[in-house]
Symmetry: none
Subunit: 402 residues, 2 copies
């Protein structure tokens, strides 16, 4: 589908603002969902005058992770573009990945006579973990001609990026985790699952040796376990597909990392939605597509904090006028998946969406909520269709066929 | 999609009850459909508090047979898994098929000097037909090393199963019907349409010879015509795909046969929906997925008996409390296709569905009917998506991607 869209692109001066309230959708508790309880007069008004509906991130019944959720929003089929665990971990640690990279999630571990005694090295303090990573980076810069990048994480966790000189074949990162899963077992040897993975496996083996040489004398973190080997996907760039100059505005590294993976600009910013909107205003002239990511809505949902999630949605409602004041040609407000406080986790439920543009009907929803969006003119549709709808409403898509 | 679902399965102790009111959907006669006329306070209440919608069995405008209708409900793409006529006939006659089987629909016919005089052997009485089949089974047990099973049917109809020792290649049953379609013609020779079908064709030729040797002296049923050659599909088992232990409860052999084909347990039971629910109760501890099939709703629809269909739906409504008393974690009530009395046949219309679970909105439908289900939170969706939705609501699916 993206191929077809790409061929229909026509450029103009329109601006599209795409707000993702992470984990927006919810479920009723005492009869009402978070959106139904929230006092959100501005979003309600917007829903009344916009096209509304619900979108299904991956497929019916499938609960998406953040990766598939966002890829879908950006118009990439999340089943075609499956992003590996190592890649997501590296993105989350703020590493910018290149197409020649293999990313690996790593744990410091404690080994004794060849047996893993502690898979997490006693959950060493983050401070200590960071120091070890720095020491490793100093000593290990390359293995053969492959660049090695250490990305420190929390406690015993870190990531390693193997940056090859040339693009790798498909299947090159299909390597078994070396984590034996249970203490009292020896580590699993580096085992490629495809012939294409031999090359990366050999480097990984040498990597384990090199790391162990540096840390073997330590009491707790004296070994390393490798998991989630994955290749950075050779994914088309957002700007190339849609003819847009995109800016990602997100405070969490993982979302910026995902955005960078598809070629969006994404500077590190800190603060809250207020700072994000400030940043949006400052850069409004320089781009024509803005992905604005609001993390906390999801965080409260994950905590099962219904009230917290409600307040966070209300907070966005208060500040919405500032986005409207920019008068984008198309404004989308939605989530990447649902995170009902009731479930304390992501869920499979379709996500409510508002699409504001001059070319919609409106008048079908009384307010902005999951139940009201069922009545909306967009119906229930796959998330990957949202980008084409935004482009169409920005008059950026030519006619298909004559 | 089933591959993706399979990889996301997590087991728990939840129970899913899946009620199929065969041919449930209808069409208005004097302004109201069967469901709209029926007095069904329990189903209405359930619809008010559940997720509702309509599902499209195969594709828009396509009227499904019972095979595709049920395969879709069980999450098997009915276009990918096309079950041959011979296989359905054999299942309907209560034969349990193995993956090495080829099934054939057969007619006794009358032949004279090499010309078919009567394609149905004067519609000989079922009693007589059964006796001939028994005689054939006694004399013909094997052809070469292929086991031959005779399954008597109604009047001139019966089925033959050729049970091979080893799995056959795809295309092995692509053989032309030997039925000349018109009386006054000779039978069509056994003609394989692919090279892979040569093996089965040779056995079929010998089968015709062997059968004719036994019955050639008879007045009417002195020949046999073979139709609908088909292989039992090498279809993944329901239990393997979904990690569920499934029980099929159905009084009609064909539905039990279909269920067995995908590895469900399905004992022969007789009686009505009352006996079926009794059987459900007795076995409720032993399984975690229950397919309960109610045939008569469809039968009245096929007869064009609007009132009969209404009464049958009302009968189920009266007994619904007994299913609710079991408190399944997820309860689905739907049909395999629509059978409007107005059309006296299956139809292409989407089928209303109720999905009861703790993780739904509800409050969108005032009652259970086709028109009310249009307003439901599930929207109009493909039938194959119903199993993933049921699994998700039973919290049996892990997150997709990180």
């Amino acid at each position: 589908m993206q191929d077809i869209i790409k061929n229909l692109i026509q450029k103009n001066n329109s601006k599209i603002v795409f707000v993702v309230l992470d984990g927006l959708g919810g479920l009723p508790v005492h009869g009402k969902s978070e959106l139904e309880v929230a006092d959100i007069p501005n979003l309600d008004m917007l829903a009344q005058n916009s096209a509304c509906g619900l979108h299904t991130p991956v497929a019916h019944g499938i609960t998406p992770g953040s990766g598939p959720g966002h890829l879908g929003l950006f118009g990439y089929d999340p089943i075609e573009w499956q992003i590996g665990r190592g890649v997501l971990e590296a993105l989350g640690l703020g590493i910018e990945l290149k197409k020649t990279d293999v990313a690996i999630r790593c744990n410091y571990a404690t080994i004794e006579n060849g047996i893993i005694k502690d898979r997490r090295a006693g959950r060493i303090p983050t401070e200590e973990s960071r120091e070890i990573a720095e020491r490793l980076q100093e000593k290990i810069k390359k293995i053969d001609n492959v660049e090695v990048i250490f990305a420190p994480g929390m406690e015993h966790r870190f990531a390693v990026i193997l940056r090859f000189l040339e693009p790798l074949e498909k299947g090159s990162a299909q390597i078994m985790d070396t984590d034996p899963q249970k203490e009292g077992n020896p580590p699993v040897p580096v085992t490629p699952e495809t012939p294409q993975a031999d090359k990366v496996a050999k480097i990984a083996e040498k990597l384990i040796g090199a790391i162990t040489d540096v840390i073997k004398g330590q009491e707790k973190a004296n070994y390393v376990l490798l998991r989630g080997f994955s290749q950075a996907p050779d994914i088309p760039h957002f700007g190339d597909v849609y003819g847009l100059k995109p800016l990602a505005i997100a405070t969490y590294p993982m979302y910026r990392g995902l955005a960078k993976l598809i070629g969006m600009d994404a500077q590190a910013i800190t603060g809250d939605v207020k700072e994000e909107i400030e940043f949006l205003k400052q850069n409004y002239d320089k781009y024509d597509f803005f992905f604005l990511h609001v993390k906390k809505v999801d965080s409260y949902g994950e905590d099962g904090n219904f009230e917290g999630k409600v307040k966070e949605i209300e907070k966005f409602d208060h500040i919405l006028a500032q986005i409207l004041a920019l008068a984008p040609d198309v404004l989308v407000i939605t989530g990447d998946h649902s995170t009902p406080s009731l479930l304390k986790s992501h869920s499979w439920h379709p996500v409510p969406v508002i699409l504001k543009s001059p070319y919609v009907f409106g008048g079908l929803c009384r307010s902005f909520s999951e139940r009201e969006c069922v009545r909306g003119e967009l119906g229930i549709f796959p998330t990957v269709s949202l980008m084409p709808l935004a482009l169409a409403n920005a008059l950026r898509l030519k006619k298909f066929g004559a």
